[in-house]
Symmetry: none
Subunit: 498 residues, 2 copies
C-alpha cells in the first residue's frame, strides 16, 4: 500500500466509522428526546448489533492494514494525517484489548442502566440503581486493566475524557482552587446576602422559548444547522458540523435555568460547528476533549453570559417577555444571576461553588475506582462530602447521588473536565482581551469578534492537537489555574462589593 492508497482507505474507513457513530448517536438522541419507554427493547438490540459492527470495523483486518500502511509511510504524512494515524493507533490499542463480547455486553448494560437510573431518580431510590452502578464500576476497572495495565485505573478514566489528565494534576489543580474559593466564599457569607427571590417570577414557557430563540441568534447558531430540543437533562450532540442538536429544560419559576442552559449548550455547539471543512467525516472533526469542550460551553455561559455587559444587553428582551421583572434593574438582575451560595444540585450551582460540586464527584470516583468504598455506602459518602465541602445537608437521593446521568452512561472520569474547562476559559479570556475589546462588544450583543477569535484559536483545529497543546497554543504559554482564581476573585468581589 502506498501513501495515497493508505490515505484513501483511511478516508473510507473513517467515513464508515462516522456513519455507524451517527446512526448510534441518532438512536440515543431519539431516546433522550422523544422515544417511548418501550423503545429500549429494540434500541438495545440495534445498539448491540451496531456497536459490534463498529468494533469489528475499527479493529478488524482492514483497519489494521490501513494502520500498517500509515505507519510504513509515517514520515511522508502531513501533520494532519500523522495525528489521524496516532489517534487510530491509540484507539485500536484500546479496542483490541477488550474482547468483543464484553464490549457488546457493556453497551447493553449502559442501555439498561440509563433506564433504571431514570426510574430510580424519579422514585428517589438509590437501591434500584446500585447494582447497575456496581457493574459499571467493575467494568471500568476491568477495561482499564485490559487496556492500560501499567496505569492507575482512575488515571485511565481521566485520560479518556482529557488526554494527559492525571490524579496528580487534579490534586494540584483542585488544591489551588479550594485554597482560593473557600476563603472567598467565607468573605461572601460574612457580607450581606443579595436579593434574588424575584428570579422565581413566573415566566411562561412560551416566552422562554422565544428568549431561547433570541439567545441562539445572538450566540451565532443558525437554524439550518442547529436545533433546540427539550429534555430533562440538557446536553449537546453533534452529527458533523452540519447538524448539531442542543437541548434545554424550561422551569416556569426559574427562567435563568433554561437561559444559561441554552447559552452553555450553544458554546458546545459553536465548537462542534466550526471544524475546518477538510476535517468533516474524519477523526479530526469536532471537539478534542471534554475539557476543551467545557472550556467553550462554560466560557459562553459564565464568562460571557453572566457578565454585567451581557446581562444588561439582554435585559430589555427579558423585560419585554416578562414585564413583571421590570421592577428590577439590569444591575440587580446581574447580581442575582451571580449569587454564590452552597446548594444541592450541580447543574444549578453558581460559578463560584460549582468546582466544589466537581470535587465531591472526583473524590467519589477516586474511591470507587480504588475499591475503597462499597456501592451500598456511596449515598452516605456523597452526603458526608456535601456537608464537608459545601456545608449542606442532602435530603434524599434524588437531590443527592442520583442527580447526574453521567455514571449511568459509563462516564466515569468526566466530571473533572468541567472544572478544568472553566479554568481554560478564564485563561482564554485573558489572552483574547489582548486583541478583542470583549466588554465593549458583548455590551452591544455583538459576539462575532469573540466567536471569530475562538474559531481562529480553538474551533477550527478540531482534534488536530492534543487538548493541552491546543490550549497552550491559544494561551501562548503554559496552563495556569491562577487566571481562573483571579477571575473568580475579581468577579465576586465586584458582585458582592467586597
Amino acid at each position: 500500500m502506498n501513501t495515497e492508497e493508505a490515505i484513501k482507505k483511511l478516508n473510507d474507513l473513517e467515513l464508515k466509522e462516522f456513519a455507524y457513530g451517527h446512526a448510534m448517536g441518532i438512536l440515543s438522541y431519539d431516546d433522550e428526546t422523544v422515544a417511548p419507554r418501550g423503545s429500549r427493547i429494540p434500541r438495545g438490540k440495534t445498539m448491540g448489533v451496531l456497536s459490534e459492527l463498529s468494533y469489528k470495523l475499527s479493529t478488524g483486518d482492514e483497519a489494521r492494514a490501513v494502520l500498517d500502511g500509515l505507519k510504513e509511510h509515517y514520515d511522508e504524512l502531513s501533520p494532519e494525517d500523522k495525528r489521524r494515524a496516532d489517534i487510530r493507533e491509540k484507539n485500536m490499542r484500546e479496542l483490541r484489548a477488550i474482547p468483543v463480547e464484553e464490549y457488546v455486553a457493556y453497551t447493553e448494560l449502559l442501555n439498561d442502566a440509563s433506564n433504571v437510573w431514570r426510574e430510580a431518580k424519579a422514585k428517589s431510590d438509590y437501591k434500584l440503581f446500585e447494582p447497575y452502578l456496581g457493574k459499571i464500576i467493575e467494568t471500568q476497572k476491568r477495561f482499564a486493566g485490559l487496556v492500560a495495565p501499567d496505569m492507575d485505573p482512575y488515571d485511565y478514566c481521566l485520560d479518556r475524557f482529557e488526554e494527559g489528565l492525571t490524579q496528580d494534576k487534579c490534586q494540584e489543580f483542585f488544591g489551588a482552587l479550594r485554597g482560593r474559593i473557600v476563603p472567598l466564599l467565607e468573605r461572601i457569607e460574612a457580607s450581606g446576602p443579595i436579593e434574588d427571590g424575584f428570579l422565581k417570577t413566573h415566566f411562561p414557557v412560551s416566552a422562554q422559548r422565544e428568549l431561547a430563540k433570541k439567545l441562539m441568534e445572538i450566540e451565532g447558531l443558525p437554524e439550518e444547522n442547529c436545533i433546540l430540543g427539550e429534555v430533562e437533562h440538557p446536553f449537546t450532540t453533534a452529527f458533523s458540523k452540519h447538524d448539531v442538536r442542543i437541548t434545554t429544560h424550561y422551569y416556569e419559576n426559574n427562567f435563568l435555568s433554561s437561559m444559561y442552559s441554552v447559552i452553555h449548550e450553544g458554546g458546545h455547539a459553536l465548537y462542534d460547528m466550526h471544524s475546518e471543512d477538510r476535517f468533516v467525516f474524519t477523526s479530526l472533526e469536532g471537539g478534542v476533549s471534554m475539557g476543551a469542550h467545557e472550556s467553550q460551553s462554560r466560557f459562553y455561559e459564565n464568562i460571557i453570559g453572566r457578565s454585567y455587559e451581557f446581562v444588561s444587553f439582554i435585559y430589555p428582551e427579558i423585560i419585554r417577555l416578562c414585564p413583571k421583572l421590570a421592577s428590577r434593574s439590569a444591575r440587580e438582575l446581574w447580581r442575582a444571576a451571580n449569587v454564590a451560595r452552597p446548594s444541592l444540585i450541580r447543574t444549578e450551582a453558581d460559578e463560584l461553588t460549582y468546582p466544589l460540586h466537581i470535587m465531591v464527584r472526583y473524590e467519589m470516583e477516586k474511591a470507587m475506582m480504588k475499591g475503597e468504598v462499597d456501592t451500598s455506602e456511596l449515598p452516605d459518602m456523597w452526603n458526608r462530602l456535601y456537608k464537608e465541602y459545601l456545608g449542606i445537608d442532602v435530603p434524599d437521593d434524588k437531590n443527592g447521588i442520583l442527580q447526574d446521568s453521567h455514571w449511568s452512561g459509563g462516564a466515569v472520569g468526566y466530571f473533572p473536565s468541567y472544572a478544568l474547562g472553566s479554568a481554560y476559559g478564564a485563561q482564554l479570556l485573558a489572552k483574547m482581551r489582548e486583541e478583542v475589546n470583549v466588554a465593549e462588544t458583548v455590551k452591544k450583543g455583538e459576539l462575532k469578534p469573540v466567536n471569530d477569535w475562538l474559531e481562529e484559536h480553538i474551533w477550527r483545529y478540531g482534534c488536530l492537537y492534543k487538548p493541552a497543546e491546543l490550549m497552550e497554543r491559544a494561551f501562548g504559554g503554559p496552563f495556569d489555574p491562577k487566571y481562573y482564581t483571579d477571575y473568580l476573585e475579581r468577579k465576586f468581589t465586584e458582585v458582592y462589593g467586597l
Copy 2:
C-alpha cells in the same frame, strides 16, 4: 449445516437486518420530525453506508448459505420457518436479479425525483416532473423484467405491495365497486346537501393535542409503546412492536383532519404492536402487506371512527375542548363527518368517493406500465378520468396529477391496496359482528372487544400468512367485495336519509 444451525443463523441474520432497518428508519423519522435542514449532508452519507451494508448482508455469502441450509432441510421446518425461508428466497431473488449499480442508480433517481416532485408540486408544473416519472416507469419495467420475466410488469408491481394481487382481481373488484358507488352517489347528489360549514370552527391546536391524547387512550395505544409526532404529511413507522410512532398535522380550522388522522394511524400502530412475541426481530414481525395494513387503519378511521356510535361517544369531549361546537348535536356532527361529495384531493376524500380516486390512479398506472400512454399525455388522462369517475374538473397539476408523493418515491402499484384494505375492513366487520356487539361497545367508548377480536384474527399473525390467506382465515371464507358495497350503501342511505 443442520436444521438447528440453519435456524440459529437465520435468527442472527434477521436480527442484523432488523437493526440496519431500525437505524435507517430512525434517521428517516428524525428527518421527517425534527432534524435541521443541514442534516441532509451527514444523513446522505450515513444512509449510503448503511444501505450498502444492508444490501450486502441480505444478498451476500452468509445469507446465501443460510438459505441453502433452510432449503436443504425444508421439510423439517415448522410452518413459521418455512414461511421465513419463502420470504427470504423471494427477496433474495429480487435483490440478486437487479445489478447493484442499477439498484444504486435507482436509489439516486428516487432521491432526485422526490425533490423535483416537491418543487413541481409547489409550482404546479408537471413538465418539471415528467422526465423523472418517465425514468421511474422505465426502471420499474426493467426491474420487473429482470426479477419476474414471466409475469406481466404491472402485476409484478401490484404483487410487491399485496402478494397475490393481479390486474384481473383489480378489474373485478373495481368493477363491482363502481357498479354500486356511482348510482349511490347519484341518489346522494339528488338529495339535499348536509350542512358541514361548522366543521371549520376554530379549534385551538393545544385543545386538538388533548383530543388526540384522549383518542389514543380510547383506541388502546399505550404511551409506553406509541408516541404521536407532528409532521406535514402524517404517517406511521414501527421499530418492532415495542416502539411505534404515529404522526399527525393540526389545522385550527379543520379539527376532523387531525382527529381522523390520529385514529387512522392508530389503526396501523395497533397492527404493528401486536405480532406474537416469538416473531419480534424476525421477518415475520409486523403487518404482512399494505392492503392488510390499510384494512386496519381504514377500519378504525371509517368503520369505527365515523360511525354514529363513536361520534356520539366522543362528542362530549369535543364540546368540552371546543365549546363553540355545542350549538350542533352529535347527530349533526356525525352527518357532517360523513358528507359524500366528489372532490379533487384523494387524502381529503370522503369514505364513499375515495375508491373512485384510487381507480383513477389504477387506470393511470396500468396504462403507464403497458406503455399505452406517453408521459406528456398523463395530465390530460388524469383530468379526463377525474371528469369521468368523479364528474369534476381539475384546475391544475398541483390539485391533479402532482398531488400524491407515491410515484416520485417509486411506489407504483401501491394505490389499489387502499381500496382493497377498505373492503377487507368491511368484511372483517361482518364477521366480527357474529361474536362482538360492535355498536354497543363502541357507543360506550370501549374498544377492547374490537381490538381483542382483531388481535386474535389478524394482528398476532404478523407476516405468517400471505395477505389473501390471512383474510380468508379471518373471514371464514373467500373475499367478497359485496360486504364493502353493502356497508357503504347501508351507511350512506342512513347518513343522507335516502
